[in-house]
């Protein structure tokens, strides 16, 4: 009988361990500075940050039972939210939280996740967003945005106000719309797309991904594009005035501006194209190894 009872107890423990842990709901809020900084860290799940008109930070959502504690504290103008992992769980297995966090609209953000996706809406301050394998999807305003992920995609929707956008991923795609000012975008195997934007300076680099630029290059602006194996499509919106220097080792160049590309050598497959359009106050450089490229203007 004792053995039987022991078996039941062992099985019960085994079942308990095997069962998915239940999540618990979270609903908390505190007062915050109108334009303070909100720092958020999470392991897996999701983080959705929404700007609102109240001087408060509010959290709702659910956290897994494995989460040791949801830290929610304020120090001066800074608010910290942290999904705390138990001491022994250094590999962050089975720790998840899905949180919707409302912050004062003028706040700046500092978000770091491991595999949790990050979504930001209506937050007008600077944004520093980092994930290892999560996607980053943000609305950006006049505040600078720095988004980095390893294997996730990055999507930024601007509102046409000038800012610095640093967008970097390794294997994900980068898509930015309605941004203005300066943009640096870099990925290894993902694609880069910049659309409906107006940039003063853009530096776009991939190794194997394609690059699409359908935007306005501001007067005296600079556009630098480099890819090893990706295809390049540049379609300027509005007038463009720049000096163009384009070269590809093994791709074709299609140019709507008129001048024809020339062979770099009669023995090699490379093409180059240099010309000035308009006053030539801006500068456009494009370099590829194998990618072909289209250069056009609306």
């Amino acid at each position: 009988m004792k053995t039987f009872a022991t078996c039941i107890a062992v099985n019960a423990v085994a079942c308990a361990l095997a069962m998915p842990a239940a999540a618990r709901d979270v609903n908390e809020s505190m007062n915050a500075a109108e334009d303070g900084r909100v720092s958020i860290s999470n392991t897996s799940g999701s983080i959705e940050v929404q700007g609102w008109s109240r001087d408060q930070v509010a959290i709702s959502g659910s956290v897994g039972d494995e989460v040791e504690e949801l830290v929610f504290e304020r120090s001066g103008d800074n608010v910290r939210i942290k999904v705390k992992v138990p001491e022994g769980n250094r590999r962050f297995h089975d720790v998840s939280a899905d949180l919707v966090i409302r912050v004062p609209a003028q706040s700046s953000l500092d978000v770091a996740t491991i595999s949790a996706d990050i979504e930001v809406r209506g937050v007008k301050g600077e944004q520093d967003l980092q994930a290892i394998s999560g996607d980053i999807d943000s609305e950006a305003f006049a505040g600078d945005i720095d988004a980095e992920t390893v294997s996730g995609d990055i999507e930024v929707q601007g509102d046409g106000k000038k800012a610095q956008s640093d967008l970097q991923t390794v294997s994900g795609d980068i898509a930015a719309q309605r941004i203005a000012g300066d943009v640096d975008a870099e990925t290894v195997s993902g694609d880069i797309g910049i659309a409906d934007s107006s940039v003063e300076r853009a530096d776009l680099e991939t190794v194997n991904g394609s690059i699409t630029f359908r935007a306005t290059l501001e007067s005296d602006g600079r556009l630098d594009i480099e890819t090893v194996n990706g295809r390049v499509d540049v379609d300027f919106v509005g007038k463009v005035s720049a000096r163009f220097d384009i070269e590809t080792f093994n791709g074709r160049i299609r140019n709507c501006f008129g001048p024809k590309p020339e062979r770099t050598s009669k023995y090699a497959p490379g093409w180059e194209l240099s010309f000035t359009h308009g006053d030539g106050d801006g500068r456009v450089t494009i370099a590829t190894l194998n990618g072909g490229l289209n250069l056009c203007m609306d």
């Binding site: 720092s39 860290s41 999470n42 392991t43 504290e73 304020r74 120090s75 001066g76 800074n78 608010v79 910290r80 942290k82 999904v83 705390k84 992992v85 250094r90 590999r91 962050f92 500092d110 770091a112 996740t113 491991i114 595999s115 980092q130 994930a131 290892i132 394998s133 720095d146 980095e148 390893v150 294997s151 640093d166 970097q168 390794v170 294997s171 870099e186 290894v188 195997s189 680099e205 190794v207 194997n208 480099e226 090893v228 194996n229 070269e247 590809t248 080792f249 093994n250 770099t264 050598s265 090699a268 490379g270 180059e272 370099a287 190894l289 194998n290």
Partner: protein, 193 residues
Amino acid sequence: MNSKQEDSIMERAAGLAKEIPPSRDLWPGVEAAIAETPAKASEKSVFAPWFAQAAAVVLLVGASSGLTYFAMKDAGSSSAPVVLSPDLVFQQTSFARYDLGPGFQDARDRLSSQLAQELKRLSPEARSEVEQNLEAIRTAILEINSALDAEPDNALLQELLLNTYREELTVMNRVGGLTQNVMTRNNGRRNDI
């Protein structure tokens, strides 16, 4: 060759500059590009900043001292380096086909080893993605090297090669720094406020 001639040659060789500065200094731009990521990373983490700095410095030193690989490849080590392109000069190398100097290789190895430690903390999927992408960069380096075999004095290829080497260092540094920063924050060792 008699010993007098030999002495004369040796004397003239000793008087030759050991480095040939590029006729156009491209390296401040490269330096800025490389230094940007470590600087940003160091604000957020302590991921081996000296590795990154060392790699950047070594890359710069290796590059700006004149990449004379093409010149040296066929001319033999006793020949004076020859500038093949007005903008870029390559020095003899041995990593992949080119080597930006033993210091570069050493720094790259250390950065790679540091990254390997950080990658252990990632999920198998994320780790595999990083490894595949680093492999893609290395494949691109080989592709460019291959193209350079056919056109050794092609400035576009030389620039792409250098930038792709830089990209490899940048990705290793960025991924390592990002991983450490995110893990540290999520592990509770960093106090954010």
